[in-house]
């Protein structure tokens, strides 16, 4: 089913591209829909989407990428309708606000014949998307734990700061704990710091008052890690080999890893640039001579001083 559809799309757009090239038109229309950024990670995603638009449209004169961001799920549903009715898109790249309310609207876009690429958050029904691009939450937890084990020995103590209580947070935490198990490293306690600097600061202050011996901190997220570091410095407990592992790939964090920071020596990637990857793959569905439909799960790469440069985007807001 899928290859046939893709082939059909390629054949169709091939024909369109031919006529388009003569008329200098952008005939392959790809809608890109995602939530309006309200936090730094999403702002980074917005930036990467805009960069990918410029790059891909320069590369392919017949490709037209239409970026729309929406402030809430119902606005996103309307935006999807507009993409079909006004722009008559050939493909849709969508990062759904929420899975449930957007499953039907995306299904309707699919019924119009468009190729569907879903990013980061899956839909409630299987089989709608032709292409799926996402980060790897369990792997983020596991990679963090593996690094912890290389730095710590049996009997060492760590504390864990978690995100907002959600499925994403549970996946990361459970995978982390599964990897730590049996290593002899004690997880003293875990509290939610809501992927937020202020909460990270306050939770860490309380951990420091409560536990006199902490060897390392898993903050799960770069924003939390910034709060954790401020609390450690305030209490003067940022020495003696103490280190903090965050996650996501914030540019400031990556910069300080490049500069050899010892307090935050590594980071674990959950890339906001995944939207650009999704756009690349979707365009490839029209341009590549190989099949592209399928699931693309991006690595939760451990960012170290050696490879940090590749993940550093100084112009991005994140």
């Amino acid at each position: 089913m899928k290859p046939i559809m893709t082939l059909g799309a390629i054949a169709l757009t091939g024909a369109l591209a031919f006529s388009g090239a003569t008329a200098q038109e952008r005939s392959i229309k790809i809608g890109v829909s995602y939530p309006t950024p309200t936090h730094a990670w999403a702002a980074g995603m917005n930036w990467h989407a805009e960069q990918a638009e410029i790059r891909l449209e320069a590369l392919y004169p017949d490709v037209d990428l239409i970026l729309i961001n929406s402030p809430d799920p119902s606005a996103q549903a309307s935006a999807l309708e507009d993409l079909v009715s006004i722009h008559q898109i050939d493909a849709l790249v969508v990062l759904p606000f929420e899975s449930e309310p957007l499953t039907d609207p995306v299904l309707n876009v699919k019924k119009s014949g468009a190729l569907i690429t879903v990013v980061d958050r899956g839909l409630s029904l299987p089989g709608i998307e032709d292409i799926y691009v996402a980060g790897n939450n369990p792997e983020l937890g596991r990679v963090s734990a593996v690094y912890m084990k290389t730095r710590l020995k049996e009997g060492d103590n760590i504390v864990v700061l978690r995100g907002i209580p959600t499925l994403i947070d549970n996946e990361r935490y459970d995978a982390f704990m599964a990897e730590i198990e049996g290593s002899g490293i004690n997880v003293l306690d875990q509290k939610h710091a809501n992927w937020n600097r202020d909460d990270g600061f306050e939770v860490m202050q309380d951990f420091l008052s409560r536990f006199p011996d902490i060897d390392a901190v898993w903050a799960q997220d770069d924003d939390i890690a910034i709060g954790v570091v401020a609390a450690l410095k305030q209490a003067g407990r940022d020495g003696n080999g103490m280190f903090v592992v965050g996650g996501a790939g914030m540019k400031e964090t990556i910069k300080s890893i490049m500069d050899g920071d010892e307090l935050i020596p590594v980071d674990v990637l959950y890339p906001p640039s995944m939207i650009a990857t999704a756009m690349d793959v979707t365009v490839a569905a029209f341009k590549s001579n190989g099949p592209v439909a399928g699931r693309y799960i991006l690595g939760a790469t451990l960012i170290t001083p050696e490879n940090a440069e590749a993940f550093y985007f100084p112009d991005s807001p994140f």
Binding site: T36, P37, T38, H39, A40, A42, A43, G44, N46, R162, P165, D189, Q190, K191, H192, N196, R197, D198, F201, E202, V203, Q205, D206, F207, L208, S209, R210, D223, I226, G227, A230, Q234, A235, E252, P317, F318
Partner: protein
């Protein structure tokens, strides 16, 4: 205080009076005992300093809210206002670094602009409520959304960070101590004393209470109701700007997630402290205790793993309701009537 006494009637006067004033203090002491029993480190010097410093943000804002609520108003915009002011302050200081360097001048420019912004934002809320004749709930719901989206816009959806050149100069405002107490605690103390004097020892304070009790009567009593009500929002704005001035040096950043829910925490602190939500009776002392209670709950929950993290909100909600019930419940006078 006189209002409370007359409200409670003559028979139960002494009894209810005591419970009303002492309620928040009793609740706070109970919380501290629970905290100590869970973990003796709760009463360590470091933790108490953290607790007091943390209370300063909500506490200072809540003192402003005491005036607004006493005069029968409400301000839902304070959290967003704090975030927007913090954002603009950071932008202004970052650009001032180029001309004035990372010294005291830049910090003073930042603090000064924060105060101007706070006064201005408060005045806008006040004028729209009084002259614009729009309900305070709607005005401040509107400005809440406006300020929150402005900070998102200024930060380009991300986070605004203070230039590292200024951080060294500004950092001590949050982290340093003066005669054993962190500076934010001193600011909180000074604002508290001034707030108490203003509410309890001046004509302005009495006007606030009068307007909150009965606005129509206050108009006939030749009180300049619009001006007094606007002033309460201006005081609220000033308090928000002071809280922001001590908040910014903590992490040196502002984003859309700064100050989320502060408005509700401030209102909760005011009500836990014994001020009446519909206006007409306000207690600055109670507000201070209310702010301390709220911060202590969060602190204690971080000190124990007995309670599931997912139930933190439940514990906070229960304690807020119990703290208010302790003062409002009829149980005191009911028992007296039987005897």
């Amino acid at each position: 205080m006189t209002a409370a006494a007359t409200n409670s009637g003559k028979k139960g006067q002494q009894m209810r009076f005591d419970i009303k004033t002492a309620g928040p203090a009793i609740a706070l002491i109970l919380l501290c005992i629970i905290g100590y029993l869970l973990n003796p480190a709760f009463l360590s010097e470091g933790n108490l300093a953290n607790l007091l410093t943390r209370s300063a943000f909500i506490g200072i804002i809540a003192i402003g809210a005491t005036f607004v609520i006493t005069a029968g108003g409400i301000d839902l915009s304070v959290g967003s206002m704090a975030a927007a002011i913090a954002g603009v302050m950071i932008i202004i200081m970052n650009s001032a670094v180029e001309t004035f360097g990372g010294g005291v001048t830049t910090v003073l420019i930042g603090a000064g602009s924060s105060i101007l912004l706070g006064l201005g934002a408060g005045w806008v809320n006040g004028i729209l409520t009084t002259k614009g004749k729009i309900e305070a709930f709607i005005v401040t719901l509107g400005t809440m959304g406006i300020y929150r989206s402005l900070v998102t816009y200024f930060a380009d959806g991300g986070t605004l960070s203070l230039d590292f050149a200024v951080r060294g100069t500004y950092r001590p405002i949050y982290y340093d101590s003066f005669i054993g107490l962190p500076i934010p605690v001193w600011v909180f103390a000074v604002v508290s004393v001034l707030g108490w004097l203003l509410l309890n020892r001046t004509a302005f304070g009495r006007y606030c209470t009068a307007i909150g009790s009965n606005e129509a009567v206050a108009v006939y009593s030749a009180i300049k109701v619009d001006r007094i009500k606007t002033m309460t929002y201006v005081i609220q704005g000033l308090c928000v700007s002071l809280a922001t001035i001590i908040y910014v040096p903590r992490l040196g950043s502002a984003s859309a997630s700064t100050g989320v829910m502060w408005e509700l925490e401030a209102i909760a602190a005011v009500i836990i402290g014994g001020t009446v939500l519909k206006g007409g009776y306000g207690r600055v002392g109670g507000t201070i205790l209310g702010a301390l209670i709220l911060t202590t709950i969060g602190n204690i929950l971080n000190f124990t793993d007995i309670i599931s993290n997912y139930l933190n909100g439940t514990m906070q909600g229960l304690i807020i309701i119990i703290a208010v019930w302790l003062q409002r419940g009829d149980w005191g006078s009911a028992r007296r009537k039987k005897t």
